[in-house]
Assembly symmetry: C2
Homo-oligomer: 307 residues x 2
């Protein structure tokens, strides 16, 4: 048998418009709509469009309802759109605006949960029930994203049993799908496989995705490890958008174009056109007004000679 | 069985002093000696110290004999030192200067071979015989590095049969060891495994290493793939030194600290101390006078919070 095994297809979720832009100086709704158009043109199957969260805490997402309106005007077909929420109230706003795929975030680490959502992990997890009621009430689908699944910027490593416990409880309370987030970009392939295996064992057949950051250079290797562990739902951000503005040079989300490059070469279907992603990345760079972190975007495609 | 399999140990070769510095504005021999000291302190088992090549073509390596003298004065113990050569004459100079592990480069792609060594692949390959005679004549060990093993900046993708043919012939002519180089940083994990398997089949039991660049963000994923394919000899460069000065922002060699991070978490022995590598990277950054490409170095260790 070969040293690596590959699935027939991987379902990429483009998170640039939300996770990528949320830490940027806010750009206009019109500019965002141009980016959404460019991302639709890549062929990606899922796009995280915005977040219904506090506009004071995340000013870049203050136009969530307007973005929903823009998407609503696009007509049928196209990708599956999702919105991120941090509370039942956010879920109400998102579903009222028309979203039917809702991502609700719970931090597995107590420190990050309290800093990010002003409540502990248990309270945030128990709220899955109310969020699920809202989402299922409109015939929607609820994904629970478990942030700081591996490590926390305040608490250090997250005990795997904590993350597994959140996963099990989230499913009991109505999550249709789970995603593990390496929020601070510190995990690595061996740990990726171990935690995905452990969470997969309690996921009761629900789809399990993963969300990686390239902060310490492990992002694409972690995606590779996740795929080897059987995960076929991966988040990525055009151009690697999502670097932290307070840590200059620190990479953000794994870049969509790099993930597609990895999978294309392995014959894994993504439905995503690499050149179209590079085109969208160029637009994203122009819109945010600074260089992007993606190595592939900076270096160009395979056959462009270096120096 | 687990989705990833890991060897007991991986033998890292630090190539910063040669591959990393060769494209930099030359730094003094004294500065290089300080970097060598810092790299010795990391515990790494092998260090590529310099290259015996044309000082006109590579002015940064013009002090190869002086570097040999510095290493000669260090006394017994320490890492295995190697020098890169591009011709039998270079091998003579390197062995006369005291090196006993010699790396001889052959480009599998015709275009790169002619541009880089001013002769075709076949002629460069046949010269392995003379290089081996020189190296074995002093009781040394010859590693043949096959550059552009996957892709060439001039010819595009390298036909795998070409790379396999060079490997087979190099062993016939006396190579004790092989290394495949992704010279322009374009390969990806699926192609890494395929070519390593093909070359491994003709390597006649000789050790087979790999040398990756992170130019398109695949570097650490490629290293992971190589390890999955059974390779336990990997090149890496402190701080990711080796970015091309004519392609701003394009990453160079995979960073030693990122490779160690990957392997440490998997329980794979390297003998390398991560903190010591980060210390050496800080020195390297100060010596070359510009930021380094390593994401891990820029972001800091696991528990340093972002933002």
């Amino acid at each position: 048998m070969s040293a690596l095994s590959w699935p027939r297809a991987v379902d990429i979720r483009e998170v640039g418009p939300r996770d990528g832009l949320q830490i940027e100086t806010p750009i206009s709704t019109e500019a965002k709509s141009r980016l959404l158009d460019a991302l639709i043109a890549t062929g990606v199957g899922r796009i995280e469009a915005t977040a219904f969260v506090s506009p004071r805490a995340v000013p870049a997402m203050a136009d969530a309802a307007e973005i929903a309106g823009y998407i609503g005007g696009l007509g049928p077909g196209g990708p599956e759109w999702s919105a991120l929420v941090a509370s039942p109230n956010g879920a109400r706003r998102a579903t009222e605006a028309g979203f039917r795929t809702i991502e609700y975030v719970v931090s597995a680490a107590e420190g990050h949960s309290r800093a990010n959502a002003r409540r502990g992990t248990e309270q945030a997890t128990e709220a899955v029930a109310e969020v699920a009621e809202v989402v299922h009430g409109v015939g929607g689908r609820l994904e629970v994203i478990i942030a700081t699944a591996w490590d926390c910027p305040f608490d250090g490593p997250t005990e795997p049993a904590r993350t597994v416990g959140v996963a099990r409880r989230a499913i009991e309370l109505g999550a249709d799908q789970l995603c593990l987030g390496d929020t601070i970009g510190t995990t690595s392939p061996a740990r990726v496989v171990a935690l995905l295996d452990a969470v997969g064992a309690v996921a009761d057949g629900r789809p399990l995705g993963a969300h990686f950051h390239n902060t310490r250079g492990m992002g694409i290797a972690n995606a590779l490890a996740a795929v080897q562990a059987g995960v076929t739902q991966l988040d990525a951000s055009v151009g690697g958008l999502g670097g932290c503005p307070f840590a200059p040079g620190a990479s953000g989300n794994i870049a969509t174009e790099e993930l597609v490059y990895l999978l294309d070469d392995a014959g894994v279907e993504t439905g995503v056109d690499l050149e179209a992603v590079l085109h969208a990345a160029a637009l994203a760079r122009d819109l945010v007004g600074h260089p992007l972190e993606s190595d592939l975007f900076r270096a160009g495609g395979r056959n462009r000679p270096r120096g």
